[in-house]
């Protein structure tokens, strides 16, 4: 019933199951002894000499700074003025350059295939004709018939994609889901890094940490490149639902970093197959809209008629090529949980390549065998609703009560096709600062893949951490926090005695950055 019981059961689960893979200390096979992973050796050495109170005071300093800068998010349903901080953990997640090159290549491959899939599904639908994806996908509520036959610049649909990765062992990463609509969280990747550089400058001198700060520049370059009109200096804007949206800080942050206008629906209007913004000097044409509003709210004339967030007539201009939207309308059909299952097949179909990153094994409950298996194993599976998001409409079997399981069973039986099921993954843990000291907490990883003339990603990611002991849910809406993610050039980790100046470590870091981007 209560949180406490769920936590207890998860703890039991943790103890009864095999140990979780820890990013810092891996368990040596068939032994109780733990070994610090190479990538962490130097950091662990540094960490063990830092007294708890010192780390705690760094944490508090970070909190104070975040509050002062206003890096907050609003919580739906709470009264006006309730701005919260996403908890920030001062212990970073470390990833070696080698691991990173595999992950980034896999993420890029995936996004390339997903963009090709989106183009295909809104044009000739070859993948359906080839019998790889069932035509029932066209009935998915995220499929937008309005987009059929519409050509988007460079055939890019998902200009920004967040790929959620989890790890279960030294060599095993899984893609948990693709976020292709309006993925958020990149501002935390950037702000967490700034914070770490401020709190622990000595660590940045000591390690070659690949920089991530150029993300907004890459994004801006891509957005300018997809302007439909042939003008030299396209006007790019960021369309936000406004200051009361939970991700408003991020919208403001990105607009500022890119030097573009942060607009809201009422700032824009449509005239003569073009979009304009209302300025103090009269109307100004807009060429590219980086929109952070969902499809449903973007144009009240076509989608949700009650939306006051969107721009009436926008879709018609978009379809006629008068403006570019990023991400494109209709990307939701590619990141839906019902489509997720087919991504490995898409990669083979469109790219003729073997997938570099694996999907989590998934049961499709529309299939009778999978349904029967799932119903018999609800207590050990995670059941997710398709077309849902954010950790709300799901059942975590091992953490649920009998009553919850039975209630969910009824929902599944009444509409099996609305659900998929996956084994409960043993998400890796990462040392995290908690009240009692440093303890392992479960983490995931969301790198952001940018598609423009090339498909790239900066060497870093949003690392979300479930701060409650034993919890596997990392969403910020469910009490998750964030960590900085360091992509390290292992061989270049300098010994303490060798550290003399920041100039020495800088070139290596830049090399990692270039390498990671060259992967595409």
């Amino acid at each position: 019933m209560g949180i406490f019981n769920i936590q207890q059961r998860l703890l039991l689960m943790q103890k009864s199951q095999k140990m979780f893979f820890d990013e810092m200390q891996s368990v040596v096979a068939n032994a109780d002894e733990k070994r610090v992973r190479d990538i962490y050796t130097a950091y662990q050495h540094w960490l063990k000499d830092i007294p708890h109170h010192q780390l705690e005071s760094k944490r508090q300093e970070a909190e104070l700074l975040f509050r002062r800068v206003g890096i907050t998010f609003n919580v739906y349903g709470e009264e006006d003025g309730a701005e919260r901080l996403i908890p920030f953990d001062v212990i970073p997640r470390l990833i070696s350059a080698k691991e990173w090159s595999t992950l980034s290549a896999g993420a890029i491959q995936r996004v390339r295939a997903l963009n090709m899939f989106l183009h295909d599904i809104y044009h000739s639908q070859e993948i359906i004709q080839a019998g790889i994806i069932p035509s029932s996908i066209l009935a998915n509520s995220q499929y937008r018939p309005e987009m059929f036959g519409v050509d988007v610049p460079n055939q890019i649909y998902a200009h920004i994609a967040g790929i959620d990765l989890v790890r279960t062992s030294e060599s095993q990463f899984y893609v948990l889901e693709d976020n292709l609509r309006t993925p958020s969280g990149v501002s935390y990747m950037l702000e967490d890094r700034k914070m770490m550089m401020r709190l622990f400058p000595e660590l940045f001198r000591r390690y070659s940490i690949a920089p991530v700060d150029h993300y907004p520049q890459v994004l801006l370059k891509n957005l300018r490149a997809v302007a439909q009109t042939s003008i030299q200096e396209p006007t790019v804007v960021l369309l936000s639902p406004g200051a009361y949206n939970s991700a408003y800080f991020e919208h403001a942050f990105l607009a500022q970093q890119m030097g573009i206008e942060l607009v809201e629906g009422p700032d824009l209007f449509v005239r003569n197959n073009a979009v304009y913004m209302r300025t103090t000097q009269g109307p100004q044409r807009v060429d590219v809209i980086y929109r952070r509003i969902d499809d449903d709210y973007i144009d009240p004339l076509v989608f949700n008629p009650n939306s006051i967030l969107g721009v009436p007539g926008l879709l018609s201009v978009y379809r006629n090529g008068g403006v570019t939207l990023a991400n494109a309308v209709g990307t939701g059909v590619a990141d839906d949980k019902a489509t997720y299952i087919y991504v490995p097949e898409m990669i083979k179909f469109y790219l003729g390549e073997a997938p570099l990153l694996e999907n989590v094994p998934t049961y499709e409950l529309s299939k009778e065998d999978d349904l029967q298996y799932t119903l018999a194993h609800l207590h050990e599976l995670v059941v997710k609703e398709v077309q849902g998001s954010g950790g709300y409409g799901m059942l975590v079997g091992p953490a649920a009560t009998k009553k919850e399981i039975e209630e969910f069973r009824l929902r599944i039986v009444s509409k099996p096709a609305n659900y998929i099921a996956q084994p409960t993954l043993a998400l890796s843990t990462c040392p995290t600062l908690v009240e009692a000291g440093i303890a392992p907490r479960h983490v995931d990883l969301r790198p952001f893949v940018l598609s423009g003339k090339t498909v790239t990603l900066v060497p870093g990611a949003l690392c979300r951490v479930a701060l409650k002991e034993g919890s596997l849910v990392v969403n910020s809406s469910q009490g998750g926090g964030t960590k900085d993610t360091w992509v390290l050039e292992e061989t270049k980790v300098l010994e303490e005695t060798n550290v003399s100046s920041i100039e020495e470590s800088q070139p290596a870091a830049i090399k990692v950055a270039q390498k990671a981007e060259a992967v595409c």
Binding site: V69, G70, A252, Q256, E261, T280
Partner: protein
């Protein structure tokens, strides 16, 4: 720039300025109440503060009597009073938050810090103690706000709209302060320019940081008509009406460019009255009439600025 952005910047600056002026009114009223031979009753002393804020009716619906504790609470902290310092600062911060992109990060952090710092005064009974510190704090934050804008913002339209908000609000406040004080301080039988209580007039001057300027310019005893001259016609006095209109008309010239806007014409007209007006003529017609007219014109000017640049429907 976006009309909505300009609107938020303009109102952010107006609200900060409003908070500062309200703090000045509270401070001067409070210091008058400390003068031992003040003959006035507590109610008579605090009523002008309410008049300046223009909210007497609202106050009376909420409180029974006019007394120091209630007026201070009402003007400084009352969340139900739309023009309390609390609400002015809150609105300033909300406006800033809505367009944090349009200002430098220093400017935004400054306003955000202001709002976070406000917490220290929450729930404090300012009438009992701490009013001085509170007013000093509000003024200091306002100075800091202008300083950070001046010192960090690109000299583009965004900066112009911030300045515009500051001076439209300041002109309104100085006119109100002078009008109410002049009206109340001048005994009926007293001739304009006659002797009135030194303490009270010096308090008025101090409330607009003009005491030292007065001494320096006139090096004479404080007489009301000179106070009025200083606050209306002296262009070198940064809170005077003339100084405000110097700024406003220059900004509107620049913002309007080749456009013919009513706000530009109106500000030019107001500016000319202050630039070429004579104090004798103003007194002959009546200072009160002059100031009421000014306050009305300034309001119309505000509405015209809204219409020309800030309204979301201007397309």
């Amino acid at each position: 720039m976006l009309s909505r952005t300009a609107d938020h910047l303009y109102w952010m600056a107006r609200y900060i300025e409003r908070a500062e002026n309200m703090a000045r009114v509270l401070e001067v009223t409070y210091s008058m109440s400390l003068v031992p031979n003040a003959a006035q009753s507590e109610a008579a002393l605090w009523l002008p503060a309410l008049e300046i804020s223009g909210n007497i009716d609202d106050y009376e619906s909420e409180y029974d009597t006019v007394n120091a504790a209630d007026v201070i609470h009402y003007l400084a902290m009352d969340a139900d009073n739309p023009s309390s310092i609390y609400n002015a600062l809150r609105n300033a911060r909300e406006n800033a938050r809505a367009v944090r992109v349009a200002m430098t990060s220093e400017t935004w952090e400054n306003i955000n810090a202001l709002w976070l710092e406000f917490d220290q005064f929450n729930g404090q009974d300012l009438a009992k103690n701490g009013l001085r510190e509170f007013c000093d704090w509000v003024k200091a934050r306002s100075h800091l706000f202008r300083g950070v804008c001046f010192g960090t913002m690109l000299r583009d339209d965004a900066f112009s709209f911030v300045r515009l908000g500051t001076f439209i609000e300041r002109a309104d406040n100085t006119a109100r302060l002078l009008d109410v004080k002049y009206h109340l301080l001048l005994p009926e039988q007293e001739e304009v320019g006659g002797a009135v209580d030194y303490y009270e007039w010096s308090a008025v001057l101090r409330s607009v940081s003009a005491f030292q300027a007065y001494q320096k310019i006139f090096s004479d005893t404080i007489v009301p008509w000179r106070v009025a001259e200083l606050l209306v016609l002296r262009r070198d006095m940064p809170r005077s009406l003339h100084a405000c209109l110097d700024e406003i008309s220059a900004i509107l010239e620049q913002l309007s460019g080749s456009r013919h806007t009513e706000c530009r014409r109106l500000s030019g007209e107001l500016h000319a009255k202050l630039r070429y007006g004579k104090m004798q003529d103003i007194f002959q017609r009546g200072l009160h009439e002059f100031l009421s007219d000014f306050i009305d014109s300034n309001n119309i000017l505000g509405a015209e600025i809204q219409r020309a640049f800030l309204s979301i429907n201007a397309s």
